[in-house]
Amino acid sequence: MQALLDVFDIYLLEAVINGILLGGVLALLALGLNLIFGVIDVTWICYAELVMIGMYAMYFMVQYYGVSYFVAAPLTILLVALLGAALHYLVIAPLLTAPPINQLLATGGVLFVLQSFATVAFGIDFRNLGIRLPVLAFGDMNFSYARLLSFVAALVGMVAVYLFMTRTFTGTAIRAISQDRQIMALMGVDAKRIYLITSALGGALAGLAACLLVLQYDVHPFVGLSFGPITFLICVLGGLGNFIGGFIAAFLFAEIISLGGLFSDLEWGYVLAFAFFIVMMFIRPAGLLARRR
């Protein structure tokens, strides 16, 4: 009996820690979405699909052309950043004066395009890098290096964004524009340029997430569907555009998914997370960190 309890506790602890590790990547994704929403006031429904394209880029560079992982990663980040900028330039910019819903739906169209592009170009097979990182045994618990590495890299990525946002004029403008869009012109800021930079930055974050997720998951055209919805829930719960709220919500959801997955399949973890989300909407309708009126 005692032995059983011990084992259970160990698994629980392992799940908790895995949850934290998962939270890092989710927080990265939430940060990218929040950044774009906060600045441009538009949500990229196809955000997870940008990640998927990034994962394919990694797969082909590393697996097909034999490029080193650490060379491929920055190239992928750059590629997805360009993709983000292109998305803004081609789809969002022409719709800037249109109702926000139209912008949102247009990115839904892009989701279709990216998914089917991947299907056409790469087929529906599941592919992986073929890199099998060792597993770290700690007591009776096992953690994959892939997850640890992802967690650390995600943190580094977020710190880099933080430094950019606080140290540079452009970064300061990005933070300012989400607080008061209307007076930016008085500061001499060309909002359109900031939008483009932010889109590239959001894309870069998706690119970084792609480099990390490809270590843990197989890539296929619909892989975005397995973490896209959860990212949206995180952002809504944390308050769209609220970086800190998104950060906290990411870890909250990661724990729920990880612990839910402990007792059943991972999918049930998602269901649990959604149920939790609905309950939270009743308790804190304006988002996790919002002050109650």
Binding site: T166, F169, T172, A173, R175, A176, Q179, D180, Q182, I183, M184, A185, L186, M187, G188, V189, D190, A191
Partner: protein, 234 residues
């Protein structure tokens, strides 16, 4: 320096300014007074490009302001301190000032300008790492003016600097305006607080329901019945 001719402007189908003429000469301090909703704030917004006039011309030192993209108007030397200060509440004082120096030219002289602003408002230097939204109303007004001065403007537009402030602070704010005047800057100031503003400006316009009702030197305006009527309706 600044010249407005038959300016008409509004919000959507909602007109706020009718055929408005206004001049500001270099070195002057000009006041615009008038009751709430008269169109004073609209006037400021039209000059700084936040809204575009439906008709009429605006020239800054001969340059066509209407044809200049909104974000480039600052580089013509016009800095606008908006109504209600409109600081970025969740940025520090430093970051707010940094935004004021976003322009390429200003960025190059960032350190110098910071010195100038801190020289004018030593209090800001003490508070430089504080979130702008957490400061008192008077300090926020200092920060808003400081932010506008960071771009090294020739013309400062002040929109209701005393609005929402306690009477003691209002006195301080007008002291600030005097200090700015003394530094040689041209100022166009919109105010409801007629008595106070007429003490710091050379000339003033009375604007009511979107049109100029009267104009004259401060002394003339102080004595004017039209002004009192516009405010009290008796």
């Amino acid at each position: 320096m600044l010249e407005l001719r038959t300016v008409n402007a509004g919000y959507g189908t909602f007109p706020a300014l009718f055929d408005l003429d206004l001049d500001v000469k270099a070195g002057e301090a000009v006041g615009v007074i008038g009751p709430n909703g008269a169109g004073k704030t609209t006037l400021m917004r039209v000059i700084s490009g936040l809204i575009r006039p439906a008709r009429g011309s605006i020239k800054m030192e001969g340059v066509d302001v209407v044809a200049t993209p909104a974000h480039k108007i600052v580089s013509l030397g016009i800095a606008h301190v908006p109504e209600n200060r409109r600081l970025f509440p969740q940025l520090t004082v430093d970051d707010n000032l940094k935004m004021g120096a976003f322009l390429k030219e200003a960025r190059d002289h960032y350190a110098e300008r910071l010195e100038v602003v801190f020289g004018l408002f030593p209090r800001l230097k003490e508070r430089r790492h504080q979130m702008a939204g957490t400061m008192s109303g008077g300090e926020q007004q200092m920060c808003a003016i400081g932010r506008a001065l960071m771009s090294n403007p020739k013309l400062l537009l002040l929109d209701e600097p005393s609005a929402g402030l306690a009477p003691v602070v209002v006195q301080q704010v007008f002291e600030l305006v005097k200090r700015i005047r003394a530094s040689g800057l041209t100022v166009l100031i919109v105010e409801q607080n007629v008595q106070q503003v007429l003490k710091v400006v050379d000339r003033a316009y009375l604007i009511e329901a979107g049109t100029i009702r009267a104009s004259g030197t401060s002394a003339e305006m102080l004595a004017s019945d039209t002004v009192k009527e516009a405010y009290l309706g008796v």
